[in-house]
Amino acid sequence: MAIRRIEVREKLMARNDELAAEVRGRLEAAGVPAFNLVSSPGSGKTALLEATLDRLGDELRIAVVTGDVQTENDAERLARRTDRLVQAVVTGGACHLDARQVLAALEEVSLDDTDLLFIENVGNLVCPASWDLGEAEKIVIFSVTEGEDKPLKYPKMFERSTHAVLSKTDLLPHVPFDVERARACAREVNPAIEFFFVSALSGDGLDAWCDFLRGRARAGAASRFAGA
């Protein structure tokens, strides 16, 4: 019996990548910078977004797509801080968002009236690193109650993130967390990664974070104007 070999050379997850490219195209055309917030569960993604909406909600038009395995609790928390529509994606068991879900959520978001988009991923430091959502940048959050070596344990996530937000810094006096070691671990896997140090509770460090977001929103608006 003859065996015939068919050459394929087709990437797995190519569909997700195609849909992510579509998301990216739409966002870039509209000049909307989009951030994919990733972290382990309980690192403070939602708290950071709450604090961000409190500070920038009147100044910038911020849209949020938030993913959870179950419940719309995070979306409800965020909806209390903004008049804008917060899109909840319940993944029903899946431990990450995919580009198809983000594309569907964007149908409800008016990008022409949006300055910034946050995609709050499901809390998980493994899978979200592998799924492109069409974001401009991944931002990884980790808190001072976690290990300083988190970047070494989950290198892909830190490699693919442009920024790291060290959260819950108000707890630093109470926990044996070595900030310099954490930073060194992150730079070991991603020498270019930049840090923010924030406490959503006390407000410490949020000025620098908000300035960064303002800068990205301005650049997005400039590209929208240039493209118009």
Partner: protein, 86 residues
């Protein structure tokens, strides 16, 4: 990571190349798995063997080659061709 959904994607890609009717004649599916792809090889192989070993396949097997980098791809499909009496 998502070894089962990745393995299902392998089946989908295979079907695109050989058609639904061709799946029963698939003998081998060649794959490249990057060492930084985030895939747990043992689990991925288990999922592939489970899917390729069941209907509508008839005993196809995966042939996984490790590569450097983070890419994951199907590289070839081997299929029994022509007259069974050959």
């Amino acid at each position: 990571m998502h070894e089962l959904s990745l393995a299902m994607d392998v089946c989908r890609i295979t079907e695109e190349h050989v058609g639904r009717d061709g799946l029963a004649r698939v003998r081998e599916v060649g794959l490249e798995v990057g060492d930084r792809s985030g895939v747990e090889l043992g689990s991925f192989r288990f999922c592939l063997e489970s899917l390729l070993g069941a209907e509508p396949f008839r005993g196809a097997v995966p042939n996984i080659r490790r590569t450097a980098g983070d890419e994951l791809r199907v590289t070839y499909v081997e299929i029994e061709d022509g007259d069974p009496a050959d």
